[in-house]
Amino acid sequence: MNSLIKEMQALAQELLASGEVKGVFGWTKGSRWYLTPPLFIQKAEDAIKLHYDEFAINNLTSLLLDYRNSDDKIAIFVKGCDSRGILRLIQDKQVNPEKVLVIGLPCPGMVDKEAVKDQRHVHDLPLLRKCQECRYPNPVLADRTLGDVQVTKEPGVPIGITAERAIQKGVGSKGKERYQEVKEIEALSADEKYAFWQKQHEKCLRCYACRNICPACNCRECIFESDKKGWVNKAATTTDNAFFGITRAMHVAGRCVDCGECERVCPAGIPIMKINRKIMQDIDELFGTYDAGTDLEEAGPLNHFKLDDPEEFL
């Protein structure tokens, strides 16, 4: 891992020093051993602040939205799951691929900081569930790669210098079980499902962290930003919260890249990915297996019309 970090720092240093890019998004070591938060650097000498480890969980891609009107080229480090966010932004025409330099990294599998027992001393932590269920551990798109990772549009096993460790920890070991939680909800009666989601939406604070971290939530102005239109209002009641949650889920339907950031950042602990995964499962069943944000040329089943599309609802 240290050699990979050195490679990252050297590349960032070179890109900034040569003026090829005006900024680099990566991660840095945080205030405690289990924190590796985002970092944006603009000076070559700051490249040594870059860090990467199994706590670099943040998907940085939505931060590119701050530069969508800028002429500056920005470099960004991505893990496999993050790279799908780049495709999302390019396909949604929010990011000009000429203005972003994507650097693909091998992923060691991210661990769960919620399981930290001792803040002072480093100890082992379990792999995140989303990483156990990971099907795209390698970048699906990258202009450069480090750590011997390879770009691939297909689901697969981890490649590169961290691959052995990642596989050992169980990255992708539960890829086939990713709809397990959806099945558990589907098994409930209609009333139970309603009660379950009411309880979840009751907790929502309407902080919009889920929306703001999401590479698929890239509207210039979100309808929930303004109540002037009278469609939505600011009341954080269960009904209004559900309206927000469901509207968001439907808006990212077929575009959600499965990075799980919305659920990770929810301060209320709402299992947002259950609803996103439900939609993914429905799309798989209705239109055939489809993974959003893996193929730049593929528009996605909800984005175009085919004569043989299923239409059971008619």
Partner: protein, 336 residues
């Protein structure tokens, strides 16, 4: 000191709940916040609540009046909170200090918020001293004593197998008396447990003064870069008190005016009627949040508007830590 065994916590809570609404930190549907006490609720005093108790006095959404409007004819009907007494049990020093910050905003300087005042007046606050610092706690760095807070009506101390209790005000003495009458109190000479050294520490001395010359500092050009402008920090913060008044219309003639939490992180927050936004980008929004906490509030009310509860640090999606901001302000070079 008077004390009751921790094993009798449920009886203590039942006794207090029999006198009026009792709010306790509890886990319901995996959410740790203050709930009205019920016998079957899972009370959780191990660590501070994830959601601060500010919502008891300042709910995230409240109706303030119903209105009707037919042409130039209109009417309204105020909706005021009930004047009922309540007890908040287990409030930590950080959240007690935060309530004092909210008191400053809503009850002083010639403006009294009737909604806040009504709820606050009826409340008795039973604080709980911490014997263990949470992962993101730094109250001691913000000048607080985690073990006790003088602003509380009554103070609980962790004595190991017992909770010690001391009344501080008339309202607090009533709580102690109620427990004594119920035969729950005995004398204990056990030592008060205190937290070991905090993992997170920061030197906040003089930061408000230093920030006076830093509005245009280059520090702000960097701090916003990872912020996603969500409202997590402000909504979890026990002192953030911004709200917006809007409405829910039933039809074109009638509806209800509502007062809802608002956040300086949101784009619409500073938007003016003409469409001008004086805080257009993330930079201005992030600067405003920290300036308010660390400079404007101390200037106006003589205390920091951050009490070191650590909730924003724990839940910030990008780990933008106010302790780090304080450190960066301390280290920043100021010209002239």
């Amino acid at each position: 000191m008077k004390a009751f065994p921790k094993a009798k916590l449920q009886e203590v809570l039942k006794t207090l709940a029999s006198k009026g609404t009792l709010y306790v930190p509890a886990l319901v549907d995996e959410t740790h916040r203050y709930y009205p006490y019920r016998a079957d609720i899972q009370v959780s005093l191990e660590q501070n609540s994830a959601i601060s108790p500010k919502e008891i006095f300042f709910p995230s959404t409240e109706k303030i009046y119903n209105f009707t409007a037919y042409g130039i004819d209109g009417d309204y009907e105020e909706i005021l909170p009930d004047r009922t007494a309540c007890v908040l049990f287990g409030v930590r020093s950080c959240d007690m200090q935060a309530i004092l910050c909210m008191d400053d905003v809503f009850l002083t300087r010639g403006y009294i918020d009737e909604y806040y005042a009504t709820r606050r007046e009826g409340a008795t606050i039973v604080a709980l001293g911490c014997s263990k610092a949470g992962a993101d706690c730094f109250c001691s760095s913000m000048g607080l004593n985690p073990v006790e807070h003088e602003g509380a009506d009554a103070q609980l101390y962790d004595l190991g197998d017992y909770y010690g209790i001391q009344g501080r005000t008339e309202k607090g003495e009533k709580v102690v008396e109620a427990l004594a009458v119920a035969g729950l109190l005995s004398e204990s000479s056990a030592e008060v447990l205190v937290p070991e050294e905090f993992v997170l520490q920061v030197d906040s001395e003089g930061i408000a003064e230093k920030l006076q010359a830093m509005f245009e500092h280059s520090l702000w050009d960097q701090l916003w870069r990872k912020c996603i402008n969500c409202g997590t920090c402000t909504y979890l913060c026990p002192t953030c008190h911004c709200f917006d008044i809007s409405e829910k219309k039933k039809n074109q003639h009638c509806g209800v005016k509502i007062k809802c939490w608002d956040s300086c992180m949101f784009n619409e927050y500073a938007m003016m009627a003409g469409g001008h936004n004086p805080r257009p980008s993330k930079k201005e929004k992030v600067r405003q949040r920290f300036m308010h906490k660390l400079r404007y509030f101390p200037e106006r009310y003589g205390k920091y508007q951050c009490t070191g509860c650590g909730r924003c640090i724990a839940k910030c999606p990008v780990n933008l830590e106010i302790t780090d901001v304080i450190n960066q302000v301390r280290e920043a070079k100021v010209n002239g």
